[in-house]
């Protein structure tokens, strides 16, 4: 343990904006071949390479075969007010769902 360096560090004045966060990135993990990349969470990072490494350390350490990172600011999301007009019209139209097809035996992952 280096008590010396810890004390030296804590004596230093906090740099301006030391609390400023790195930009946020959304992380998508693909668990296995053919499976979709699924949203796993988010990380802070300064650039793409840093983001993919942080994603690996935070979300990829228990498996997976592929990672995507996307700057959170680049994602356009619908708003809660959009919910009615966007989704309600589909709720009473079961024929829009593909559940009337018979799934052949042996097909997995559906």
């Amino acid at each position: 343990m280096s008590t010396e360096s810890t004390t030296a560090e804590s004596r230093e004045p906090r740099a301006e904006g030391a609390d400023a966060q790195w930009p946020l990135w959304e992380v998508f993990v693909q668990e296995q071949q053919g499976a979709p990349h699924e949203h796993a969470g988010s990380v802070h990072a300064v650039d793409r390479e840093h983001a993919i490494q942080n994603a690996r350390d935070v979300y990829g350490r228990r498996g997976g075969i592929s990672l995507w990172v996307v700057p959170t600011a680049e994602i356009t999301a619908s708003t809660p007010e959009d919910m009615g007009p966007f989704f309600d019209p589909g709720n009473d139209k079961p024929y829009r769902h593909p559940q009337f097809y018979r799934v052949p035996r042996g097909v997995r992952g559906v």
Binding site: M1, S2, E4, S5, E9, A15, W22, V43, H44, A45, V46, E49, H50, Q53, N54, R56, D57, V58, R61
Partner: protein, 255 residues
């Protein structure tokens, strides 16, 4: 399986390289809860666990090749400072984040070359351990190289701290490539790699990263050595006291 004349040399080799990983893993684990950001805290803990896992395998093999009934726990927790065979580089205090990352780069760049060569060992158990560790080492190097460039080519303060770390640590790098008679006997038998040709390749790789990081590589100066023979800096004893206290206070305890 192993030539009787080579057995003590192989035990020594496994202790040296197992101890490197045990001590470095402990230094990295000291960052747990103190990382500069949550993501980095987890990253350092991941690396610490990788090194500790590698130590577990190498010291376990050292114990079984030695054949005197010492397992990896006995070797890790019940040897004293002079019996540790790690290079001095890994026992130095973790310092600030710049010191930790420059040290990692120096070690990781060596480790990728070392493990790449060790995978071709004629001793299958050793080749297997190297193959597993090699994948981890490649990630470690990517991580530390990225950080050294960010710190060196970052703010005035991060550059200054990274440069100070490099000035302090550079002399401890070459010990990683030291070999003695025992190592050379093992190398002739194809059990361990010849480390000498790896050193210029290591220099080339780390110097390329330091150049991108706008850090100046120190020239000349003294070359630290002694760790491989059990001669250590003042820092190892303190580290071992902390690492070994629980096992020594409660021998044989399991949890």
């Amino acid at each position: 399986m192993i030539d009787e004349a080579l057995r003590p040399h192989l035990v020594e080799f496994l202790l040296r390289h197992g101890d490197d990983r045990l001590v470095l893993g402990h230094r990295l684990a000291e960052w747990c809860g103190h990382g500069p950001a949550l993501e980095e805290d987890i990253a350092l803990a991941n690396c610490a666990l990788d090194f500790t896992g590698q130590a577990n395998l190498m010291l376990g093999l050292a114990g079984s090749v030695e054949g005197k009934g010492r397992d990896q726990d006995a070797l890790a927790y019940f040897r004293d400072e002079r019996e540790f065979r790690n290079v001095q580089l890994v026992e130095l205090p973790r310092g600030d984040f710049g010191v930790t990352m420059v040290r990692q780069l120096l070690f990781d760049a060596y480790d990728v070359l070392f493990l790449e060569a060790l995978q071709r060992s004629a001793y299958e158990d050793l080749a297997g351990i190297a193959a597993k560790a090699y994948k981890e080492a490649r990630y470690h190097l990517r991580h530390s190289a990225e950080w050294v460039v960010m710190l060196g080519d970052g703010t005035g303060e991060s550059h200054e701290r990274a440069q100070r770390a490099l000035d302090e640590l550079w002399r401890y790098g070459p010990e990683l490539f030291d070999m003695d008679e025992g190592d050379r006997a093992l190398a002739s038998a194809g059990i361990v790699p010849d480390l000498a040709p790896l050193e210029p390749r290591w220099r080339e790789r780390v110097e390329e990263v330091f150049a991108r990081a706008t850090l100046a590589v120190p020239t000349g100066g003294f070359r630290a050595k002694g760790g491989r023979r059990g001669v250590h800096t003042e820092h190892l004893g303190h580290l071992l006291a902390e690492m070994q206290i629980v096992a020594r206070s409660h021998p044989g305890a399991s949890w």
